[in-house]
Symmetry: C2
Subunit: 146 residues, 2 copies
Amino acid sequence: MQAFTGQELSSKKVSYLKYIYMRGDLVKTTEIAARFDVAPSTVTKALGEIAKAGYIEHTPYHGVKLTPLGTEYARFLVRRHRIVALVLSHFGLTPEEACSEAEKIEQSFSKDLVDRICRSLGHPIMSVCGEIEHDHGCCSAGGHPV
Amino acid sequence: MQAFTGQELSSKKVSYLKYIYMRGDLVKTTEIAARFDVAPSTVTKALGEIAKAGYIEHTPYHGVKLTPLGTEYARFLVRRHRIVALVLSHFGLTPEEACSEAEKIEQSFSKDLVDRICRSLGHPIMSVCGEIEHDHGCCSAGGHPV
DNA sequence: ATAGAATTTAGATATATACCAAATTATGGA
DNA sequence: TCCATAATTTGGTATATATCTAAATTCTAT
């Protein structure tokens, strides 16, 4: 498995990548632009950069698709999001609040930090906005023994 | 009291402001530059912007000093830092780890979120890297009743 | 085959961060 | 006091991110 840090992509690119992952298969520029309320040209430029980084395959005029690396990375991004949302829910935020607040702060959580929180929580399988997948060595590897 | 959101200043500016607060009184450009390992000119520019925003008073060639607004804001920044560090410590991070990890993620925590976490924790007076001041209506005001 | 929709390209703007080199100001020692 | 040196600021440049508009290109469905 890759050694992600969680800081490979900027905040907006992470949002786009997660969206592409959730939508699955081929995703169109216009759809992403509509979802994030930005101009299509803004999305085109970002997609080009995400593609250059190897996370998606961009077929001009046709759409984007995750690469295997992108899929693996997106899985981490979603896990990070859900772990952070779960943590916030412990402070009394409703599932909706926890999810939207997580969206704002998750960007700065490193993979190592997420893994430690995950371990400390006993590798929960459910968050407030979906299941938490613990594939491979993910958060059980490294650091303190489980 | 002011209605801060926590996003008034960029990440680096927040770091500089917290440092100025901790150092107290008149702080010199070179000192800040040394502390953050950047060129003095980089600091000068940032200080100019922080001053324009009203948080510090910059006397060219002599140093900077917090304004009342800046002092109040810095107090919030320090409280935010300590609340976040305290939260991280609950997941098994040592005080040092919690403090340095908090430094990386606190920027994106809004005042509202900090206040909610603070309330949920029962307004703790101690964190892992110092005391937590709860002046004015701070985290007990607004939102759900305490 | 082509009009209209989708998309990309090109050119601008804005913010944040940072550097270097040159100019300016401050300050301490003779 | 005067000046050499240190500190600081200015001005110019650079990168990265994010965004837009307008024009050009490509796709697609009639």
